[in-house]
């Protein structure tokens, strides 16, 4: 009995009753479309969680459907009864993770990846630097010629091909941690740099700081910040995610800022939900709440500060792939569009169904490569219909995935994938004042 009760608690059984099985989520779910069965739909997954909690289905039955969920949360925006799908998904992942027997090597690899690699800025810097060395030394060319990378496990080779050119270690080190605008600061903001953004897309992060500065903000980059914890939470490692959250809350408390800015839709979605990771009424929850109230996407802050003017035409046709986590969790939709509309000469052509996930979904495209590519193919078919010169995104995962999509379609020469921030830089931003 107690086992049954604890499994029900662990799987958030009570929350499954919010689902009335109306099926409104079905047309919104990317995996229901590409995997072609209800088992891989939100309604199917919620039902399986309920069945597992009641002991009718086994946790083993639950495993694949949960692992194959992108976590894009598109279902939550169409759900008429406001089912807390995110909570159910994380509870299921955590339960599966705890019940899983893993090999020693698996444990070691995961321990390193989630315990040291993503949270560590020095590791992430090293990744960025290694990437730079690899590209600058000509090794990349040689490796590509020998097709070495295509033999790497997890298809990392395909991702490797689309990683942007890296700045030298010197440039990385030279970055200042506190940047002041020309006049009196209009706001004081702290920049959450993100792991992948700060290593692979270092240049975009630099541009983010510059845009904030031009908008009149004083920008601080707290040194001891760590991974947001999203990847841990997605993998069911809730305790570790909580540790990251606590560490970040502490670091960002040290400076009295108006906003905590990020430029990664996925990170922002985790940051904005920190308060939900701690128990109601605790001191930590209160501190988390103070943190989340300041969390904003770069686009929101740029629109709010309204301090930019653009000096250059960008005569391009672009299409916009919004980040699912930014749209469905942060519910930020207007600001990126407003910014794009303000760029002179730019033509924005919307694709069909922009809300359909691109298949990146954290590290989903690495662990579920084939499924992610099926989803990407659907996305690219919609992209192609708009014949864009660039695909604009607001999250590193989506950005890499779109670069991969362009590559797979053989359009690497004619179509680029860019972060919104970099697109804004192309337009020659100046201070309005």
């Amino acid at each position: 009995m107690s086992n049954e009760t604890s499994l029900k608690d662990a799987l958030a059984y009570d929350k499954t009753f919010d689902c009335v099985q109306c099926g409104y989520c079905l047309p919104a779910c990317p995996t229901y479309e590409t995997m072609e069965k209800e088992t891989h739909s939100p309604r199917g997954r919620i039902n399986l969680i309920k069945m597992a909690a009641e002991g009718k289905a086994s946790l083993d039955d639950l495993k694949e459907p949960i692992e194959k969920c992108l976590g894009c949360m598109a279902c939550t925006t169409v759900c008429p009864t406001d089912v807390q799908y995110g909570d159910l998904l994380e509870a299921a992942k955590e339960t599966l993770e705890k019940h899983e027997t893993k090999t020693k090597t698996q444990q070691k690899t995961e321990g390193f990846l989630f315990g040291s690699f993503f949270p560590s800025s020095s590791w992430m810097n090293a990744l960025g630097q290694a990437t730079w060395l690899y590209q600058a030394s000509g090794m990349q060319k040689a490796a590509r010629a020998l097709r070495l990378t295509s033999m790497a496990p997890l298809h990392l080779g395909e991702f490797e091909q689309v990683v942007p050119a890296q700045p030298s270690p010197k440039e990385r080190k030279a970055r200042s941690r506190r940047v002041k605008p020309d006049g009196t600061p209009a706001a004081k903001v702290a920049f959450f740099t993100g792991c992948v953004m700060d290593s692979v897309f270092f240049e975009t992060n630099q541009n983010t700081v510059e845009l904030l500065r031009l908008s009149g903000a004083e920008v601080i980059l707290p040194e001891n910040q760590t991974c947001c914890g999203a990847l841990h939470a997605h993998a069911g490692k809730t305790d570790m995610a909580k540790e990251q959250a606590a560490a970040n809350i502490q670091v960002f408390e040290e400076e009295d800022v108006d906003y905590i800015v990020n430029n990664a839709g996925g990170c922002g979605a985790k940051l904005i939900e920190y308060d939900r990771m701690f128990e109601e009424g605790t001191d930590w929850q209160e501190r988390a709440l103070a943190f989340t109230e300041k969390v904003k996407d770069i686009s929101e802050v740029l629109v709010e500060l309204d301090g930019l003017a653009f000096s250059k035409d960008v005569p391009k046709t672009i299409t916009y792939q919004p980040s699912c986590h930014m749209t469905n969790v942060q519910r930020v939709t207007r600001p990126p569009r407003e910014l794009m509309e303000s760029i002179p000469g730019l033509t924005l052509k919307d694709m069909d169904n922009p809300g359909f996930c691109c298949g990146s979904a954290g590290i989903y495209n690495i662990v579920n490569y084939n499924d992610a590519m099926d989803i990407l193919d659907v996305k690219m078919a919609d992209v192609k219909k708009t014949s864009p010169e660039a695909i604009v995104t607001t999250n590193p995962g989506c950005l890499l995935q779109m670069k991969l999509g362009v590559q797979r379609e053989g359009q690497g020469e004619s179509v680029e994938a860019v972060h919104l921030v970099d697109l804004l830089m192309e337009a020659g931003p100046r201070s309005r004042n």
Partner: protein, 468 residues
């Protein structure tokens, strides 16, 4: 492996036959009550595949339950006898419009709303509009004869189907009707199959009739401080020479739930509101709008609102749309009913519902398509509370009785399925049910197609919503 499964694999790709527990659980439910595990889920994409499945199932006596997106509120797609769930959703979507004939030929997997999207550029409309039109398949609508708000003026699914391709329970392919509006050749098997809830055949293609899309619409909302007056206003409008496209009713409990769920400034003090939509030529509806407003005021409506812009109109309809999610916050389980009465009996039916609500102490709210007498009395409850569910069962039984008493019917648009089969004889009489059974037996001699639906099982005399 079962012999019949092996035979299915002779013709169907392996990917289209699922027997894993996770898959079977995922096709075990609909939007009503209960779960029933099938032995296999089989997806068909062509008529040939469907024929093979039916021939095999018929030979081995394996039950087959056809299924669309499973939004059913009456248990239609539940595999209550196990066997095969026949998933029609992966069938390639086809909508072939012939504008000059005002028809479209559609495959069963097409989403209902997509038919409208496809025919609109031709200035045409497919009127049936169940509220799940953006999710449900036309195949499911055909099987259940679905309705919707526009039923008032335009009728329901069966009024728009003029031809079908059907695979019979014995695996033969049959065409009914055709592409003409008029057709009296032989029995009207088209109409027999529409609404037969998947018990007589698997629909693999349909010819649907289209109408010219009205050039303009106008919404109007009237507020009443007693329910009977709202009922009168409906009859009065409909006998004044005006036929609105929709006349929706929302009671006070629903208004309050919506306002609590998402404050949009609804008149929560009102006993009920009517939301009316007129469609047609802009000049005609401008005159009709004034006339309807006059009728409402003469009968004692406390207020009426006529939105100036489509956006304002959308806001009013939003209130109606929000009823479902809003009432779900009262309690998690919804027993959604669709008892329907002659239009003159809406007032008396509202009175009966109020008595039932008090007698059984249940959270009963009422909204729906009042213009055609099709009310939605929904009982909000919690399946985990066995004592409450027992009261709900009795309350729902009495709702059915009240509808039949007043000259109405058990179900206006949701279907009988498993939910209402126990009450069939009350409405149809023993002979009526017997004649239906004889038709079923003649069509499906081995009783393999969606068994356990429409007709009560031995000893099934009442509604059961609990695990017993």
């Amino acid at each position: 492996m079962q012999k019949w499964l092996e035979e299915l694999l002779d013709v169907l790709p392996e990917k289209q036959i699922m027997t894993e527990a996770a898959d079977r659980f995922s096709y075990s439910f609909d939007a009503s009550f209960g779960e029933h595990l099938p032995e296999a889920v089989v997806q068909v994409k062509t008529t040939e595949e469907t024929v093979h499945v039916m021939k095999t199932a018929n030979a081995y006596g394996v039950p087959v339950t056809p299924r669309g997106q499973s939004t059913s509120l009456s248990g239609g797609p539940l595999p209550v006898k196990g066997g095969i769930v026949l998933d029609m959703v992966q069938w390639p979507e086809k909508i072939e419009v012939t504008p000059d004939d005002l028809i479209a030929v559609v495959s069963p997997s097409v989403l209902t709303a997509d038919i409208n999207k496809t025919v609109e550029p031709y200035g045409l409309m497919y009127p049936p509009d169940p509220s799940s039109a953006h999710v449900c398949t036309i195949g499911g609508n055909l099987a259940e004869n679905s309705g919707g708000p526009r039923g008032l003026k335009y009728g329901v699914t069966k009024d728009y189907v003029i031809g079908l391709e059907v695979v019979t329970p014995e695996g033969e392919v049959m065409k009914t009707g055709g592409r003409t509006i008029k057709n009296v050749t032989g029995f009207d098997l088209t109409k027999l199959i529409i609404g037969s809830e998947g018990t007589l055949g698997v629909i693999t293609e349909a010819v649907v009739k289209l109408v010219p899309k009205p050039p303009a619409v106008q919404t109007l909302m009237a507020v009443f401080d007693d329910v009977e007056t709202a009922g009168q206003a409906i009859s009065q409008t409909l006998t004044s020479g005006i036929l609105p496209s929709k006349m929706e009713f929302v009671d006070q409990a629903c208004l309050q739930a919506v306002e609590q769920y998402k404050p949009i400034g609804l008149p929560v003090e009102a006993a009920a509101v009517l939301i009316i939509e007129l469609d047609g030529h802009p000049e005609a509806i401008s005159i009709e709008t004034k006339e309807v407003e006059r009728i409402m005021q003469e009968l004692g409506a406390t207020d009426s609102q006529i939105p100036d812009t489509p956006e304002e109109a959308a806001e009013i309809w939003q209130a109606r749309k929000l009823v479902s999610p809003a009432i779900a916050t009262i309690k998690p389980t919804k027993v959604a009913e669709d008892a329907t009465v002659p239009r003159s009996q809406i007032g008396p039916m509202m009175g009966r519902l109020r008595t039932i609500k008090e007698k059984y102490d249940v959270d009963l709210v009422v909204f729906g398509h009042a213009g055609d007498g099709n009310l939605h009395p929904d009982v909000m409850c919690d399946t985990r509370d066995q004592e409450e569910m027992e009261r709900v069962e009795r309350a729902v039984a009495e709702i059915f009785e009240a509808a039949i008493d007043l000259g109405g019917t058990l179900s206006g648009e949701h279907g009988i399925g498993t939910m209402k089969s126990a009450f069939m004889e009350q409405e149809l009489g023993a002979t009526g049910v017997d004649m239906m059974k004889r038709i079923k037996e003649a069509w499906d001699p081995n009783n393999i197609l969606n068994p356990g639906k429409i007709f009560p099982e031995q000893g099934q005399t009442r509604l059961v919503l609990r695990d017993e």
